[in-house]
Symmetry: C2
C-alpha cells in the first residue's frame, strides 16, 4: 500500500496530540524515551509494542538497556513520518506509564 | 556480588571462543550484529535473551529494527567486560541463527 508522508500541518497537529514525542534531528522521524521500574517492566512493554507492530506490519526502531527504552518511529517506504507512525505512537502512549516516563 | 573485569589475557582467550563478537571502540564492551528472517524471528530471539538476562540479573544494551538486532555487552558495576558478559554471550551464540547472522 502506498502511503504518503504527513504534510507539515498534519505533522504539527498530530504531534500536539501525542505525549512526549520529539522530532529527531536530521530525520523525518519522532522519538520518545521511556523509563520503567526495572527490566521486567521495560521488556513487558516492548512485548506489547512488538505484538501491535506485527499486527500493523509497521515496526519501531528501538533501543533498550535495563529499565530504559528509546523508540524511534518513521516509515521506511515513505522515507518519513506517516499516519502509521502516529497510529503506533498513539498505541504506545496508551500503554506507557504516566509519571515515570521521560 | 563484586565482579572483576577480565584481564587482557582472559579477554582475548574468551573472545576467541565466541562467534562474531567484536570489541566496541572506546569502551570495554563487546558487540554482535544479528540478522533474522523477519521481525517475528528477531523479537522471538530477543525474548529468549531477555528471559536469560533476567535469570542472570545481567542485561544487554540492544537495538532492534525489523529483522536486525545489535547487542552490546558490558558490566556496569565493573565498568567493563566480565565473566558475566561472556556467559551471556555464550548463551546468545547458542540460540543465534548460524548462516544468517552478521
Amino acid at each position: 500500500m502506498m502511503i504518503n508522508r504527513l504534510t507539515s500541518e498534519e505533522r504539527a497537529s498530530e504531534l500536539a496530540d501525542l505525549r512526549g514525542w520529539q522530532a529527531v534531528a536530521g530525520r523525518d522521524a519522532i522519538q520518545r524515551h521511556f523509563r520503567f521500574a526495572d527490566f521486567n517492566e521495560a521488556f513487558g512493554f516492548m512485548a506489547r509494542v512488538a505484538i501491535k507492530a506485527q499486527e500493523m506490519n509497521h515496526h519501531p526502531e528501538w533501543f533498550n538497556v535495563y529499565n530504559r527504552v528509546e523508540i524511534t518511529l518513521s516509515t521506511h517506504e515513505a522515507d518519513g513520518l506517516t499516519s502509521r507512525d502516529i497510529e503506533l505512537a498513539r498505541f504506545i502512549d496508551s500503554i506507557a506509564p504516566g509519571p515515570l516516563s521521560a
